[in-house]
């Protein structure tokens, strides 16, 4: 098997792709947004509950997509749950840098983070949009 493929599809990705965590809709929630990849038709709906201390109390998603987009959404919800907004935004920045191949100065993500498993997407530039779809939905939900 080719290295690029093994790097892209690490065990944790395949696992989260098959069985996404936090799949569903937050009830109650006060933030939501749709994510959509016009290139392939993949889409998701993200909902979360932001409390008065700006902490993400709960976060979930539904939708359909490839293993990369599902795993990325699933790992994102795991990572962001319980985080304060400003930190979540830093994670957003780190993550988008990581998957677009500019991963030198990550501020908050480290190799130990499960999200780091998505680094292999950098080897497949047309897949970056799969990996970032949930994240852009998160960003636009923040503005909603």
């Amino acid at each position: 098997m080719n290295d690029l493929i093994n790097e892209l599809y690490q065990e944790i990705i395949l696992d989260h792709g098959r069985e996404p965590r936090n799949f569903g809709e937050c009830d109650p929630h006060n933030k939501s947004a749709d994510g959509h990849n016009p290139l392939c038709g993949d889409n998701l709906k993200l909902t979360f509950l932001l409390n008065k201390d700006d902490i993400i109390e709960d976060i979930k998603f539904t939708g359909e997509g490839c293993a990369i987009s599902l795993a990325s959404a699933s790992l994102m919800t795991e990572k962001l749950k319980g985080k304060k907004i400003d930190i979540a935004e830093e994670i957003f920045n780190d993550f988008t840098n990581l998957v677009s191949g500019t991963s030198e100065d990550l501020k908050v993500l480290s190799e130990e983070d499960s999200l780091y498993a998505l680094k292999g997407v950098g080897g497949f530039p047309m897949r970056v949009k799969c990996a970032t779809m949930a994240w852009h939905a998160f960003k636009s939900a923040l503005k909603s």
Partner: protein, 410 residues
């Protein structure tokens, strides 16, 4: 498998990109011709030669380079005319793409012949480029769009199609060869339109390089295709329209080259085909398309069809044998295109996996989101063939597909 039907593999030497190594390792197997075909040496070299020896703007100057450019451009028009057997050169309009061609017809046909409440018939399996231009008419002018159903074989339900016609039906626009199923439109669809005296536009994007096109025999009123899918350069498309209609319809874009006389108060327009070609056209690209047509003619359209049909049949049967594969559409009446899904594996995964093996297929909605919805999938994987593809490549692909399935089901 009838080996006598296949083209001589020397043809592959005409396409320089086929000797490329993907990821510095694997030979390229290009199964994405429906998205865009690769270019033979003659097309590439003639593009070169045009810029190196003959280039200037067309139609406007009286100097030698202007003559050489104009004659190349107009010669390309003649080649296209013969290629699709149009009655007159005036019926051949160069556009930038098939998409532009459909937009041009939708807008100008509406302006001349339609009004609020009039109806257009499309089908469920049209490409976005044959949907959105009509959606614009719906949104802007209150035109009604009706969609013909399709059956499980990827064919239009012709009874349903016929039932959609009313007195208000003004135009029909259908794909001549489905870019998802590879199924060819039956002539009876055109016959129905002709009988009802409703003009029909054929979206020939996928048929132009894979079927024999004779617009007079087809009896279609409009036909569009893209050069880049017919072994020609990017940036060039063709719109054919019967002269009666094109000469009555208003111009689409305004600018240099499409005018007669201009004053501050108004303008008269040039005769066909210039009337529809505002601005400096993609002249080198038109010439390249003419060269691509020569190239196909030299091989022989019949031989191309035989090769691709046999290869498609072979690949279809191979895929159909695999229990982990779900096929879309039927076996018959299919040319050069096959869509499928791997059970439980998203088409993106299939494409990325194959890519690393050197195999380029397409994954996604193929610009047919309504069809995807109808099929109950959000994307498919698609194989599409050109004259350069071989049985050996199909075998390698099937082998890789087994590996792919193993990998994702481990």
């Amino acid at each position: 498998m009838d080996k006598s039907k296949f083209l001589n593999q020397n043809i592959r030497n005409d396409f320089p990109i086929l000797s490329k190594k993907i990821l510095e390792k694997n030979n390229l197997i290009y199964f994405d011709t429906a998205a865009s075909s690769q270019k033979p040496n003659t097309v590439i070299n003639e593009t070169n030669d045009f810029y190196q020896n003959h280039y200037s703007n067309v139609s406007r100057g009286v100097h030698t380079l202007s003559v050489e450019s104009t004659f190349r451009y107009e010669d390309a028009r003649k080649k296209v005319q013969k290629f699709i057997n149009a009655k007159s050169e005036n019926e051949i309009i160069f556009t930038k793409s098939a998409t532009e061609g459909i937009n041009l017809i939708a807008q100008t046909f509406y302006e001349k012949y339609m009004q609020k409440g009039d109806e257009v018939i499309l089908s469920l399996m049209e490409h976005h480029s044959n949907l959105i231009p009509w959606f614009f008419l719906r949104d802007k002018y209150g035109v009604v769009i009706k969609f013909a159903k399709i059956n499980q074989y990827g064919e239009i339900d012709y009874n349903h199609f016929e039932s959609l016609f009313t007195d208000k039906t003004k135009i029909v626009s259908l794909t001549h060869l489905s870019n998802v199923f590879g199924t060819e439109l039956d002539k009876k669809a055109i016959k129905i339109c002709n009988d009802k005296k409703v003009p029909i536009l054929l979206d020939g994007c996928q048929s132009a390089a894979h079927l024999k096109i004779d617009v007079q025999q087809l009896e279609c009123d409009f036909f569009v295709f893209s050069g880049h899918k017919t072994y020609g350069p990017a940036g060039i498309g063709v719109l054919y329209g019967v002269e009666e209609l094109l000469s009555e319809m208003p111009p689409y874009q305004g600018g240099g080259g499409m005018i007669g006389e201009v004053s501050l108060e108004g303008a008269s327009y040039a005769d066909l085909p210039a009337k529809y070609e505002a601005g400096t056209p993609p002249l080198v690209e038109a010439h390249g398309l003419g060269v691509a047509i020569d190239y196909m003619n030299n091989i022989g359209i019949e031989k191309i069809i035989a090769h691709e049909t046999e290869l498609t049949k072979y690949a279809f049967n191979k895929l159909n044998e695999l229990d982990f594969v779900e096929m879309h559409g039927g076996e018959n009446n299919r040319n050069s295109i096959i869509s499928f899904n791997l059970k439980n594996v998203h088409s993106h995964e299939v494409s990325s996996f194959l890519d690393v093996e050197g195999i380029a297929i397409r994954a996604g909605h193929h610009c047919c989101q309504p069809l995807m919805k109808h099929l109950g999938v959000n994307s498919t994987a698609r194989l599409s063939f050109g004259i350069y593809n071989t049985v050996d490549e199909v075998d390698k692909f099937i082998e890789a597909l087994h590996k792919c399935k193993e990998f994702f089901n481990k």
